[in-house]
Amino acid sequence: MDDFYRDFILDHYRNPRNCGHLDAPSASAEDVNPLCGDRIRMELDVRDGLIADVRFSGQGCAISQASASMLTESIKGMRLEDAAKLSKDVVLENVGIGISPTRMKCAMLGLRVLKSAAIGEIAGWPDEE
């Protein structure tokens, strides 16, 4: 796991992108990882079926926060229905190096919340699909 914390991960952790809130989000969701208490909120601005803008907020470990930060970058401009179908690979590709199974839920929390926002109900854990 120690090789996970590369510079760009720490950068996303310490300087999260798209962090904060939208004035009038057209979709949003929030969830916690009950095992560790990490919490993430995602707010989307959807126009013509496309994700025009996104903000996330929350607290937690470097894995959950950096993964969420990178995810917001990946999805800007994406069709909402495609975002709803994202698999865990998007997160795994963003972070680059395999995450230990015990921390997988940390990495997937942002994606889970994004998908919940996209489908309008609580989504399952992406790693259990």
Partner: protein, 414 residues
């Protein structure tokens, strides 16, 4: 101060087979999570093995040889636990864990004894297991919850204790905080709660593994604990209750072994302690908990306490230089009122990341809310890292932790 070449300590370490097994990365296992569950000595593991290989049988009703041996060992284990806490065997009820023991009291005693307006007094330190059952009891009975506050160091604030005790029917209080290590001053609180007419339940899950406990001297009405935190196996715990209270309580779970006589339409119930033990007991694990208690008695609880106090003092000493680098240590920093637990956060490294980095070095610590979410909220911590000690830990384990912190600082470019 403990010497690492202490022969007693070396012998103790040799008794725990898991400590001799390197991790998959070839590191020495540095187990600093005994507050979650303790490791088990050979004697305990072998007790289970011997039970299943030599005399596994259902108890109490069997007349054949192995059933008689199983019954003797099972009731013998109860007697060992009773002696360990200075109780009578009838006052020792086997449960799965401390949590079930608390729930037993919540269902059988509290649901009947509490009425609207009655007060349950507990503390802001409690583990969820000694809080949520009382929330549900309050919902069922109309009783209300009240809390003894903690200060910023994690010590109970007793200034208004007499006011807090007004109208209190039940005091449910932990012996030791699993998050901060605080040893609560029961010897000051219990007499006043007694004088106020409260029934007293002590959550001893973190008490009995680390401190000599005499339930009579403590004057608790109920004292609960889990075997797995005191060198015993998973799946077995204890409810100690004063005999007169237990006698007056209705049964909790119903079924085999707890009955005296059954007709289709009604049943009468067995004597203590069996009245509260329904269905086939966890025979093997109860017997093995007896072995764990014997092991602790052989070590001597005074040695256990002194060893942990010394380790805690050493840890605080080694961690002090990190404070200027962003290390925050929570809980009382006085080893005389703290059990072997150190909770902390290190700069902007989240506790889970810290735990993952330490794991790569074979160091096992816990990160998170430690089942004390309300305390975390109150203190304003989203998570803490926690190192906790037991009989087999050494200053070398603390040194490994310190090296691990240095590694984490490097990884996080602090």
């Amino acid at each position: 101060m403990i010497a690492l070449d202490d022969t007693k300590l070396a012998r103790v370490i040799g008794d725990f087979p898991i400590l001799a097994r390197p991790t998959s990365r070839g590191k020495r296992l540095v187990y600093l999570d005994s507050a979650a569950t303790s490791q088990k000595p050979n004697a305990v593991i072998e007790t289970l093995d011997t039970y299943y290989r030599e005399y596994n049988a259902n108890i109490h009703r069997g007349v054949y040889e192995i059933a008689a041996r199983a019954t003797d060992e099972f009731e013998g284990a109860r007697a060992k636990v009773a002696r360990f806490i200075n109780a009578a065997p009838q006052e020792v009820i086997w449960t799965r864990n401390a949590t079930e023991a608390i729930n037993l009291v919540a269902y059988s005693w509290a649901s009947n004894a509490l009425h609207p307006g009655d007060v349950i007094l507990t503390t802001e330190l409690e583990h969820h297991s000694n809080l949520v059952p009382w929330q549900l009891v309050a919902q069922r009975t109309g009783a209300t919850l009240r809390f003894i506050p903690v200060d910023a160091r994690g010590e109970l604030v007793l200034d208004d204790l007499d006011a807090l005790l007004e109208g209190v029917k039940l005091l449910a209080i932990t012996h030791v905080s699993n998050t901060l290590g605080t040893i609560t001053p029961l010897e000051r609180i219990i007499p006043r709660a007694r004088a106020a007419g409260a029934t007293i339940l002590v959550d001893g899950a973190q008490g009995i593994p680390h401190l000599a406990v005499d339930v009579r001297a403590l004057d608790a009405d109920f004292y609960v604990f889990s075997g797995h935190k005191m060198l015993g196996p998973t799946g077995i715990g204890v409810l100690y209750g004063k005999r007169a209270l237990l006698e007056a309580m209705p049964p909790f779970l119903a079924g085999g072994d707890m009955i005296r006589n059954v007709e289709y339409g009604r049943a009468s119930f067995n004597d203590l302690p069996w009245k509260f033990e329904a269905g086939t007991s966890n025979i093997a694990d109860a017997i093995a908990l007896g072995t764990a208690v014997e092991y602790l008695q052989t070590l001597g609880m005074d040695w256990v306490r002194a060893h942990e106090r010394d380790l805690l003092a050493y840890t605080l000493e080694r961690l002090a230089p990190f404070e200027s680098r962003g290390l925050a240590i929570y809980g009382p920093k006085d080893p005389s009122i703290s059990s072997g637990v150190v909770s902390f956060n290190f700069a902007d490294i989240h506790a889970h990341d810290l735990a993952s980095i330490l794991d790569t070095e074979g160091i096992c610590i816990r990160a998170g809310h430690h089942c004390t979410m309300p305390l975390m909220d109150k203190m304003g911590w989203s998570a803490t890292a926690r190192a906790s000690f037991y009989v087999y830990n050494t200053t070398a384990d603390v040194d490994a932790l310190v090296d691990g912190l240095e590694k984490a600082a490097r990884v996080f470019k602090l």
